[in-house]
């Protein structure tokens, strides 16, 4: 079995890549993908810890995080669609108002 320390290291690297992307990119969909990357990194960490210590709580947290990520994507894409309908762009630099 893979050493959980290596899995944790991979999760940390994935999280930092996601954080960097969320901070630096301007396209809303890319930012959403980076947030998903961060969520998946945390899931990886949960699963590694749950497997290592034989505790089911980590699995439950991972399942909850996956469900919340799915809802977040649905809402996020709906917001982007609405945003594109009004501003004809999904660049986060150009969309700076929450009203029409």
């Amino acid at each position: 079995m893979i050493d959980p320390a290596w899995v944790s290291g991979l999760a940390a690297i994935l999280f930092i890549i996601g954080l960097w992307g969320a901070f630096s990119r301007k396209n809303a969909i890319v930012v959403l993908m980076c947030i998903e990357l961060m969520l998946n990194a945390v899931n990886l960490q949960f699963v590694a810890a749950a497997n290592h210590w034989g505790d089911v709580t980590g699995w439950v947290y991972a399942i909850f995080a996956i469900a919340i990520a799915a809802g977040e994507v649905a809402i996020g894409l709906a917001i982007f669609l609405s945003m594109y309908g009004q501003h004809e762009t999904i660049s986060l630099d150009e969309v700076n108002l929450l009203k029409n």
Binding site: S8, A11, I13, F23, W59, V60, I63, I68
Partner: protein, 90 residues
């Protein structure tokens, strides 16, 4: 502004290094358990100890789906008429 950007990147790299070294330290993963988790254990946990949070999550997801459907609703007249007529041509 340029300096701030460079500082932010250096900070991210530093954070990454700290995070990787902290989570992969041997002291964190010292004592392990031989207990194997089965899908049955997971199901028991989900429908026992975690039943209420699971219900709350389901409710939250339902609200999210309704919100997403509301956000992407199509209000063009031609589509409203199509829906009112049951999707049949007049």
């Amino acid at each position: 502004m340029r300096l701030l950007s460079i500082l932010a990147r250096v900070g991210l790299v530093f954070l990454g290094a700290v995070l990787v070294s902290a989570v992969s330290a041997d002291i964190v993963w010292e004592d392990s358990s031989d207990e194997e988790i089965t899908t049955s254990d997971l199901a028991s946990a989900l429908f026992g100890e975690w039943a209420l949070p699971l219900l709350a999550l389901g409710f939250l997801m339902a609200m999210a789906m309704v919100g997403a459907a509301y956000l992407v609703r199509d209000e063009r007249l031609v589509n409203l008429e199509w829906e009112l007529n049951g999707g049949e041509k007049e």
